[in-house]
Amino acid sequence: METDNNIEKDIERVLAAAKNVKPVDAPLLFTEKTMQRIGAERQASRVSTYALLKVAAVLLLIGLNVYTISRVLETPLQQPEQVKVSMDDLVKDYQVTDVSNDWLNNKIQQNEQP
């Protein structure tokens, strides 16, 4: 019975201990140390923004290159137009007066005769 009473008293003392905790002042230079950490964080976020910008620029360049290459590969090569040259065009171009090739046959015959 006495033990139970002692236990009850101990429990009450322990629960009362919560109320007896005195608030303490923040440690010396608490504000300065905290502001230093905040400053370091600000600096780190600036550095990381710069690094992010660099990564974004590199990614943009790579993207542009990939786009350009894919466009080049997708576009079919243009075949050069086949130029059909008629005999009349040749005549025009070289200003030959006779279109017939009789003169050429005559020449060959002459050569064949002994």
């Binding site: 033990t3 002692n6 236990i7 101990d10 429990i11 003392r13 322990v14 629960l15 009362a16 201990a17 919560a18 109320k19 007896n20 905790v21 005195k22 608030p23 303490v24 002042d25 923040a26 440690p27 608490f30 504000t31 140390k33 905290t34 502001m35 950490r37 905040i38 400053g39 964080e41 600000r42 976020s45």
Partner: protein
């Protein structure tokens, strides 16, 4: 009485505004961290970390809430993360549960060094802190915010993002659970002495 804090300047990440915030709430946040982790160096580190986190996430602060309760929430979350990390480290606890079990026994910390506790109160405070550590997080937070930090139900509800009636229920359960654990602890202690 809430202190005058320029939220716009904070959101613009003004150094002066943050210095004012640290001056205004540094003591409260440090004492809050001490009430969860009664080791002065760890509490200092965590309370500074809370302000750094506040600086990084100030854009997410809703202006209808109190800056004090918002800071308290950040600090509480950081302290619980630290507690979980140190428990896991201590017990190699991949196989241990990450949250407190109802039947977890009270273990008195060897590195207890709360500067706000007088020598004659130290033994009881050690037992209290050890018992508090075995409570589920929400009961623990509600108890220490009410009993140690002196917040009212509304402020606790805002800090913990729960209703006022939930705070009452959490406090009731925390006290009942603490009594039960302390009863077991002192009964075991008495039987060992016999």
């Amino acid at each position: 009485m809430p202190l005058e804090i320029d939220i716009k300047a904070l959101k613009a990440k003004s150094e002066d505004a943050f210095r004012h915030l640290v001056n205004a709430y540094g003591k409260d946040i440090y004492n809050l961290c001490l009430s969860i982790i009664p080791v002065a160096e760890d509490a200092e580190d965590l309370s500074q970390e809370a302000f750094v986190k506040a600086f990084n996430s100030i854009d997410s602060f809703r202006e209808d809430a109190q800056i004090k309760t918002w800071l308290f929430r950040i600090a509480i979350n950081l302290c619980y993360d630290h507690l979980k990390w140190s428990k896991r480290k201590k017990r190699h606890a991949i196989l241990q549960p990450l949250y407190n079990r109802e039947d977890e026994p009270i273990e008195i910390a060897s590195n207890f060094q709360h500067p706000g506790i007088t020598l004659e109160n130290k033994e009881h405070a050690k037992v209290l802190y050890a018992a508090l550590e075995t409570l589920p997080e929400k009961q623990h937070s509600a108890f220490l915010l009410y009993e140690m930090q002196g917040l009212n139900y509304k402020e606790i509800a805002e800090t913990m993002a729960v209703s006022v009636s939930s705070v009452e229920a959490l406090l009731f359960r925390a006290r009942a659970s603490l009594r039960k654990k302390l009863q077991t602890y002192y009964s075991d202690y008495a039987s060992i002495k016999k």
